[in-house]
Assembly symmetry: C2
Amino acid sequence: MTTDPKPLLRALHGTAGAPPPIWLMRQAGRYLPEYREIRARGRDFLDVCLTPDLAVEITLQPIRRFGLDGAILFSDILIVPHALGQKVWFEDGVGPKLEPLRRIEDLKQLSLGGLDEALAPVYETLRRLSGELPRETTLIGFAGAPWTVASYMIEGGSSKDYATAKTWAYGAPKEFDRIIALLVEATSRYLIAQIAAGAEALQIFDSWAGVWPEAALRRWCLAPAQEIVRRVKAAHPTIPLILFPRGVGPMYQAFAEECGADALSLDTTVPLAWARDHLQGKVAVQGNLDPLVLVAGGATQAEATATVLDALGSGPFVFNLGHGITPQASPDNVAALVEQVRAWRPKG
Amino acid sequence: MTTDPKPLLRALHGTAGAPPPIWLMRQAGRYLPEYREIRARGRDFLDVCLTPDLAVEITLQPIRRFGLDGAILFSDILIVPHALGQKVWFEDGVGPKLEPLRRIEDLKQLSLGGLDEALAPVYETLRRLSGELPRETTLIGFAGAPWTVASYMIEGGSSKDYATAKTWAYGAPKEFDRIIALLVEATSRYLIAQIAAGAEALQIFDSWAGVWPEAALRRWCLAPAQEIVRRVKAAHPTIPLILFPRGVGPMYQAFAEECGADALSLDTTVPLAWARDHLQGKVAVQGNLDPLVLVAGGATQAEATATVLDALGSGPFVFNLGHGITPQASPDNVAALVEQVRAWRPKG
């Protein structure tokens, strides 16, 4: 794959090269005035995700501005519970809200039957995008990991400590397995269909993985990720997968050895030398600049960026953030970041 | 120190022994009806902390019920900003609120001068407790670590992503150093005075350490911890210190090697075999049962407890939770936990 014209695909397939490719989690977002302009038209967030004209335009905004190596589908991880039949809505300034699952019987109200139809606009968005991107830009599809999506489905929105979802899991682990199994099935189908629609790489976001002890993490995050990767690889063996098990600390090593993904996205807390020594020999790594550095900019940003590049840039590596970019980030700082990454070469 | 009659002190000084000592973070708290009864009298939370009659009684409640090996002072980490002159109050159902620091000039409104007087009731509480505890029970004092306390002082309360505090740190690191330095000074004095008042061991809570990349973590969490430990050890060389840098993942190893504390408290995500192999040979370890397991109870609790004991119980170890106990925990489950820990012996 070293001859692939797309730098992001080369890196995800394990080839090192300077400069590394770069894209940014939540790169199409509120820090961009052109994004805020579209959102200011007042349409519901989920409606925007499901309107190909708008989702295509928003996906392309940061590509036009910064020429990033990856264009990630503009969507949301909660599109899957929506497609399963759960009521999902977004409240301004509050975040996502869902009619929560409370008992295992509530699972009967969800169905895989309507998945394809509900997600058809997403596939349409991907099809259009694959015709519109520059030839060196990789189209990235994505989904939430089962645990992270389940946490929203059970908590009914964001949560501080996931007490309801975790207590359910600890109190009735076999019931919890069923919720996770449904999401493994839905997520695998969704990702496979994204590839059919034009996605060239995939990222699975397990944003709330960092709340479990090892045994539970293996059961409800690592094993489901393995199974999704297995199914996607069985259908499309050459499409690289990136897994983002945010906050799992030393357990990143188990994910590198066992999850089957081509790359791991590293959160901001992962120390760089440790990642190089324990992860990068097994998978490509992606990350992990603190998104708040893009608010500060200046020397702080330049130094933090150089630190990441110097530590990880000589192996298979994708420059990215350790979490999604924040609304307070400055587009000028993002432009400076891209310029610095593009200019980087290994020392010596 | 192997002849110390207090099991918790023996473990913190590096001696292994079965069964390990046990205490629980936030063991005096809302899960106990006798605690809720006192709080229902309607006094302000900070006022309760600063009223020795009440703070002594609340500290003793879990000792009477469960015979734990450590009695941790009932107080709050925000007592330090209060003693420095910042306005701090607690809103029911919301949590702590502070009149936030917004500019470095606001630091002038804070002063070390009133520290001793403001904290005198805490020292009185400790003096009374040291006369009332069973002889095998260790009196534990505590404070918040500078970064964690600073985050509240700047954010004005709890925060989801610490954007204001972190952006300040990244944008004006030398100013941020000054805030941290003030807290190093206040915290060191406070901890030293707690020992003089009867504390036999200390825990420093860096509850929000897990949000920084390595360089910032070293500057604003690890180095300040080193300095506090150094000052406390200079004054009281034999009093053991426990540091809880929650969420720092692989960086726990750097803390074990460099922070100077006698023990590290492990959050729930730290894998047990990794902790045994990389930390326990350097420091005593404490932790790390998921507090939500105490809500579920039953087989889940028994298995999770056995897993922790079997992995870490043969080295210097203190059984504890990975974070504070939650209001939903059942006192019966806590009693069963203590019984199981007391009955544990190494296998083979």
